[in-house]
């Protein structure tokens, strides 16, 4: 008789302890940057910030299945966790928060959280909702045309799925079986409008059938489950089988932005209940249960990340502001731009 060995979920996914700790660190970094950003806003040093807390599981889970340097990322403004995985550093994040000259996303031109970096393959986005969805389809078309072994992944909230561009982007991608992954972070509210006033279906994922692509629902507080569905979607895309719509059920713990008051549209009890399903706590528990982490190491990592974030804030705050003389530049290409 052979002993029955039960494989841990992360082992079944091919994730090593190093992978798991990296994912955990990204989640913690996103949370601590988020909390620090809101403090900077309340201190009067950042006019506007966009919270992420609550979304770390679905963002880091899905993003960690992609390959930095190969795949292309099209985040929306809440995707701090995605862009950390894609390669933006806390220092670069705070250059954006403080709208500094060296902000890699826009040199202080856009609001914070409108990330972009050609070098990292993070596509710049605007504030109108869902405009990046057709871009993802176009990028995926170009990837296939150029015989690249790559995918485009695009993230958005459930409110985005009401926009015409969302429909047009998914439809085009499905028709051409493009290597693109659509990731919905369904946090139940589009600013204040609840999902039942946004759509008459319970799951965004059911809409996938209307485009002829698979739709998957996943628990957004379960980082490994999010990783798994993204990994499967990546495999499908790379195999030429076309796009996938992933819906992560998640929740935003903080207001929509620093200018929002979420007490006007949802109860404190509701928010408190959701905080019981914190994706970071859940993953921490998983790591401890699998002997990959203990409270001592957890505290050490927390202190280390906190120190990194504080150092990033100090350095970014001291960085140079944009030169007003540059405001007229880059309307059109300059010299060797293309």
């Amino acid at each position: 008789m052979s002993a029955q060995v039960t494989e841990a979920p992360h082992e079944a996914l091919g994730l090593s302890p190093v992978d798991l700790l990296r994912m955990h660190r990204h989640m913690l970094t996103a949370r601590l940057i988020d909390e620090a950003s809101l403090r900077q806003n309340r201190m009067g040093r950042a006019p506007f910030v966009v919270p992420v807390s609550g979304h770390e599981g679905c963002q880091i889970g899905t993003a960690s299945a992609l390959r930095p340097g190969t795949d292309v990322w099209l985040p929306y403004y809440r995707d701090l966790g995605v862009v950390l995985v894609a390669g933006l550093s806390p220092y670069e994040i705070f250059l954006g928060v403080f709208s500094k000259a060296d902000d890699p996303s826009s040199g202080g031109r856009q609001m914070p959280s409108h990330w972009g970096s050609k070098q990292l393959g993070i596509v710049s986005h605007s504030s109108p909702i869902a405009t990046q969805i057709p871009h993802a389809a176009g990028i995926a078309y170009a990837m296939r045309y150029r015989n690249e072994d790559a995918v485009a992944a695009v993230w958005f909230g459930e409110g985005a799925t009401s926009e015409g561009d969302w429909h047009e982007g998914l439809n085009f991608a499905a028709i051409h079986h493009l290597p693109v992954i659509f990731v919905c972070e369904n946090n139940e509210y589009a600013i204040s409008v609840p999902q039942d006033k946004q759509m008459a279906v319970r799951d965004v994922a059911t809409r996938a059938a209307g485009y002829g692509m698979p739709g998957v629902v996943v628990d957004g507080s379960d980082v490994l489950a999010c990783y798994e569905v993204m990994r499967d979607a990546l495999a499908r895309a790379l195999a030429g089988e076309g796009p996938t719509l992933i819906e992560c059920k998640t929740y935003r713990y903080l207001p929509h932005t620093s200018d929002d008051d979420d007490k006007t549209y949802r109860s404190r009890e509701e928010v408190a209940e959701h905080r019981h399903h914190d994706p970071i706590d859940r993953f921490t528990t998983y790591l401890i249960e699998h002997d990959l982490f203990d409270h001592e190491r957890m505290q050490a990592m927390h202190d280390e990340v906190k120190g990194e974030v504080e150092a990033a804030i100090a350095a970014a705050w001291d960085a140079a502001d944009p030169d007003p003389a540059t405001v007229l530049r880059h309307v059109f290409a300059e010299q060797d731009d293309r």
Binding site: H114, K118, F172
Partner: protein, 329 residues
Amino acid sequence: MSATNVVTAIRDALHGEMAADDRLVLLGEDVGARGGVFKVTQGFVDDFGEQRVIDTPLAESGIVGVAIGMALHGLIPIAEIEFADFIHPAFDQIVSEAARMRYRTNGDWGCPMVIRAPCGGGIHGALYHSQSIEAFYAHVPGLKVVMPSTPADAAGLLRAAIRDPDPVLFLEHKKSYRAVSGEVPEGDHVEPIGVADIKRAGTDLTVITYGYELHRCLEAADRLADDEGIEAEIVDVRTLAPLDTATILASVRSTSRALVVYEDNRTYGAGAEIAATVAEEAMFELDAPIVRVGGPDIPAMPYAAALEHYYTEPSPDHLYVAMRELARF
């Protein structure tokens, strides 16, 4: 040199560019097997394949949005909007995305793409196949708007638009497609974007125009010269954004009279910008007030022949009369 019409000149230039650079892809409604409703891309799908000549779903915002994505990832898309009247759903993609990509990324990302759109009226197209849309887009920094009116300019400016590192809205007046013929230089002839062209030399007044109105102005100016010896200089703007103010102002300074003619309805149109430029820069060199002749301020060009005719000629020979009156002022 060989004589050809505008639609053939565009087709030939587009075909040549496609053959020379495999980063170019076409996308739009009916551009494939049908070859476009005006046959600009007739035969292209056979020559270049379905990968490069893409019949899209009927979704203009998606056409432009997908094209932007292609441009961001190494291709040079040429999106066709079947009629300019149908471009409005794509306004957000053009204005918020394509035109602002370079500025909002501080020069990091560029958006090299062309959006072709047949525009203008006088072909029994009614309210939704006759519109002039240039003013909406010429207002937008980050976007270039060109509107050639002759076969040579159409070919040369299309090549320039395709090779431009920034998004270009390429407007083709559909009445000119087959009604206007002319010589097209052989070979790799490129007309630079942002340069106006003097289509008729003259000393008595300057007419600043573009689109199919250019041809109406040229015809009226020739008769006026024959009838009364009044010589109008006619400036074809060709590019609405960026506007070649130097050529316009030099001509106006030489004639001291400025008439601005455009098909779009008059109020807040491109003619207002041109007239304002002349007023700001050359007011004291003028011998007469600036005159604008635009279309009537009605929502769009109506269908019935008599109504449509009123739009383009509200009073008998109105361009001829306007030129004569300004010259005599």
